[in-house]
């Protein structure tokens, strides 16, 4: 099996400064009244001269105020420059709240940046402006924007429009089919659906879905945090954004997509491994000679120990031999000296009487023998002869004290010996029985293999059931409110109470409490006790293993993956597959694998929210349902015209599979045979700017701009409706 591809997260690095100040203003644009076009989006701002093909500036719409520690200066940076310094990056803020400009201080800084970079050095901005604003933007926002532009920058005129409609214009939308269509703009903070008729956007029928690129990023981040709670590093928003941009796609059929993931065989087609950066731990590689030195040292120590042990053994042996000699000499001395003297000598050496001395001599002798044999390496078999039982049968009253003691000792030794013999015999019997059993099994197997296999399977199943039952019981007992727990409580209460249950009394028909006389009564303590029955479980497991090994050997259908261990191990579960993938197998000690994520369900889930907002609990209708509602607001003729061009624009729409999914959705809601087509913007990100630039140079639209005089006369909320923008309220 080949190694699956591993994807990495790339940290974007930007040049510093991202844009240098242009120097062509004097020559090319001064005194030309070239319009400046600004596509002010919540994700990126794109600005430039209308006559140029591409916007001169494309930057993230953020402002950062921070103090640069290196040169100790207060900095205000805009766009990609804000990411140059880590302090700046964390401080980067957008003038937007949602898709509406609310913070005009930051907006002012953005405009400063644009005009400065364009190289404008006149005392006021002497160029008409075309800007984008949100769909049905609140009047507060437009008023302050006008104020900023006219009073601070002295712009001669401003025209506002909606970015997706500008994009529609740029892609020829207003000329096809009488300018009727449906524009779907999947943006950063929201997704808009704007129907158009006769070249004008119908704002009364427009709908906005509060899910866009930024909500998708947040959701991806949340999903990853839930899936990997013990992930070693924190995931940042920009990393989640990378994941969304690179690995998310829109499924054509969501249910099919989910089934593909659940099925272990097709899972690998969807699953992707993302490797997070990590630092490998430094393992001190000991050189060859160091290792050799360590081994030699260990060897040295072992040898020394062995020598010391041998020496002590030798010493002991010598001492024992000396003692043995001394004591035998003492014993032999009995014959030589008088009894009294000898007894005195005995007592002096520390023995009570002759028997004691004899015992000691015997022990010493056997010890010396054992030691000698060990030295010589003779394998000694402990042969215990049957003990002397001469005094056992004589009744007590015929013996004196010493003999009584002797008798007791002999009785004890006899009992020991008998017990040992019995144990040995029992063991041999058990072994014989086992062998007999195995032989029978073999015969059974050879006689009727299928039936035998079936029998073994049954037995195995019985053991598995027993194990499961035990597990269930332990789990039930831990829950206080389960029936098993209640029964247990009842038995405890019964045992503890002074008046046991009447049933018991009736059965016993006795006054006294005879609990405990019967062995069966004590079994109740076993049931009450909640200690784990691990030894029984072990027993069951070993029996299970035995059956499974037989089945593995003789049953062709029984595969290792059917074994109990494989089916119950955590690596086999669905959750493990989704979190850690299938191959290569997860090794908890591998640092690289610890920093890996698997995106599978998330790849289609994050995009699906557009069509089913209930996935994140957003109480809005999905894209398909909303499109349906909007299309129904047209009368049947207009409807046919409108669906001939469904135009898709916006950054979030560049997710793979978006347009084909919209196409399938349209097929769901339109009557059979309706002609419809889904058209994608040539460049979803830049077309809004391009359309606005086209409009800026189109003399027809000049009448729709708001001049400074009109601003002063009518106020900041005034706007002229031109079909590609908002209407005045």
């Amino acid at each position: 099996m080949s190694e699956p591809p591993i994807y990495t997260l790339d940290e974007k690095e930007y040049d510093t400064p991202y844009y240098s100040i242009r120097t062509d203003y004097e020559d090319s644009f001064s005194n030309t009244k070239t319009p400046i076009v600004i596509d002010n989006g919540s994700y990126q701002c794109r600005a430039g001269w209308a006559t140029e093909k591409n916007p001169a500036l494309i930057f993230d719409n953020v402002v950062s105020r921070y103090k640069d520690r290196k040169i100790n200066l207060n900095m205000i940076s805009v766009g990609m420059d804000a990411y140059a310094d880590p302090a700046g990056r964390s401080n980067a803020r957008s003038p937007f709240d949602g898709n509406v400009v609310c913070d005009f201080d930051r907006m002012e800084t953005i405009l400063d940046y644009i005009f400065t970079t364009l190289g404008i050095n006149t005392s006021s901005i002497d160029h008409p402006l075309v800007m984008t604003e949100a769909v049905c933007v609140p009047q507060y926002s437009r008023k302050h924007m006008d104020e900023l532009l006219f009073e601070c920058y002295n712009v001669p005129s401003v025209m506002f429009g909606i970015d997706s409609l500008f994009g529609y214009y740029a892609n020829g939308g207003l000329h096809d089919d009488d300018g009727s269509g449906v524009v779907i703009s999947a943006g950063h903070t929201a997704t808009h659906i704007i129907p158009t008729l006769h070249g004008k956007g119908l704002l009364e029928r427009t709908k906005r879905l509060s899910y866009g690129g930024t909500q998708a990023t947040d959701y991806m981040l949340k999903l990853m945090q839930l899936k990997y709670p013990t992930f070693p590093t924190k995931m940042t928003n920009s990393q989640a954004q990378e994941l969304v941009h690179n690995h998310v796609h829109i499924a054509d059929d969501y249910q099919e997509g989910l089934k593909m993931i659940e099925n272990r065989d097709t899972f690998d087609n969807v699953d992707r491994i993302i490797q997070f950066p990590y630092t490998a731990p430094v393992i001190e590689e000991k050189t060859e000679e160091e290792l050799a030195r360590q081994a030699a040292k260990k060897e040295e120590n072992a040898r020394r120990l062995r020598e010391a042990a041998a020496k002590s053994r030798l010493e002991k042996l010598v001492k024992r031999e000396e003692e043995y000699e001394a004591f035998t000499e003492l014993k032999n001395a009995k014959a030589i000296s008088t009894k009294k003297d000898w007894i005195a000598r005995l007592k002096a050496t520390g023995f009570k009487d002759e028997a004691d001395l004899d015992d000691t001599i015997k022990q010493l002798d056997s010890a010396i023998q054992r030691a000698r044999n060990k030295e010589l390496g003779i394998d000694e078999h402990e042969e215990k002869e049957p003990p002397i039982t001469t005094l056992v049968d004589i009744p007590d009253d015929q013996l004196n004290e010493a003999e009584k003691k002797e008798k007791r000792k002999q009785k004890l030794m006899k009992a020991n010996y008998d017990a040992r013999q019995r144990a040995k015999k029992a063991k041999e019997e058990a072994k014989a029985r086992e062998e007999e059993q195995e032989r029978l099994e073999e015969e059974n197997r050879l006689r009727d293999p299928e039936k035998w296999v079936a029998e073994v399977k049954e037995k195995r199943q019985a053991v598995v059931d027993r194990i499961k039952q035990r597990k269930r019981l332990t789990m039930e007992l831990s829950d206080r409110r389960s029936r098993a727990s209640q029964l247990r409580m009842r038995s405890i209460a019964n045992l503890a109470s002074d008046t046991p249950s009447p049933k018991r009394q009736r059965r016993r028909k006795e006054e006294e409490d005879t609990f405990g006389a019967d062995d069966e009564d004590w079994m109740i303590y076993r049931e009450i006790s909640r200690e784990d029955e691990s030894d029984e479980e072990e027993e069951d497991l070993s029996i299970l293993n035995h059956y499974e090994s037989l089945l593995l050997q003789y049953d062709p259908d029984f595969l290792p993956e059917h074994a109990y261990e494989a089916t119950s191990s955590p690596t086999n579960t669905l959750m493990h597959m989704l979190a850690r993938g299938k191959y290569p197998p997860y090794d908890p000690t591998d640092i690289g694998q610890m920093h890996q994520l698997h995106v599978n369900v998330e790849r289609i889930r994050v995009g699906e929210v557009l069509f089913q907002p209930s996935i994140i609990g957003l109480d809005q209708a999905g894209l398909t349902e909303t499109m349906n509602d909007i299309i129904r607001t047209f009368n049947p003729e207009e409807r046919k015209q409108a669906v001939k061009t469904v135009f898709i624009t916006g950054g979030f729409s560049s997710l793979p599979g978006f347009s084909s999914r919209i196409s399938s959705s349209l097929q769901e809601i339109l009557p059979v045979g309706t002609l419809y087509s889904v058209k994608r913007a040539a460049n979803p990100l830049l077309d809004a700017w391009r359309g606005a630039a086209m409009v800026a140079q189109n003399a027809h639209y000049n009448q729709y701009a708001i001049t400074k005089k009109e601003y002063e006369e009518f106020g900041g909320e005034y706007i002229k409706a031109h079909g590609l923008g908002n209407a005045f309220r």
């Binding site: 900095m75 949100a134 999905g622």
Partner: protein
């Protein structure tokens, strides 16, 4: 005609001049630095213009807009929001994301099969709330 906007450079005392020079030298030593808008000269700005310090956020703006009553067919920022769905919603497992046929009555989590259920039973309350929060169903105590 607008007045000639005053220069944004600081006054020419010897100390500030020295500071500026040292800054320039430092900048040259440290290499290219991002465009700093606080020090750059912006001739196109009206020096009399005072930037409003206070700004409202969207919630406040919309609250103020709500007081302005308009005819019902005029589209406003809040009008054009998508209404709630009338179609039955598909339920998805909170833990795996697959289809959820079952719901745990104790926690309210939706799950895909018995294996996930065993996992849900082991979850602590904050974890349960975290899963619910991912679909906006967590208990919020005000």
């Amino acid at each position: 005609a607008p007045k000639k906007s005053s220069s944004k450079k600081s006054n020419n005392s010897p100390i500030t001049k020295a500071k500026q020079q040292s800054n320039v030298v430092e900048e040259e030593l440290l290499g290219p630095s991002p465009l700093n808008l606080s020090t750059i000269h912006k001739p196109f700005k009206n020096s009399n213009y005072k930037t409003p310090k206070k700004s409202k956020n969207l919630k406040q703006i919309l609250a103020a807009e709500r007081t302005q009553e308009l005819a019902l067919d005029v589209p406003t920022y809040q009008n054009i929001e998508c209404p709630p769905s009338v179609l039955p919603q598909k339920k998805y497992c909170d833990v795996t994301g697959l289809e959820a046929k079952y719901t745990d009555p104790k926690t309210g989590l939706r799950y895909h099969n018995s294996e996930i259920y065993q996992f849900i039973r082991t979850l602590s309350v904050p974890n349960v709330q975290a899963y619910l929060a991912s679909r906006n169903a967590a208990v919020v105590l005000k």
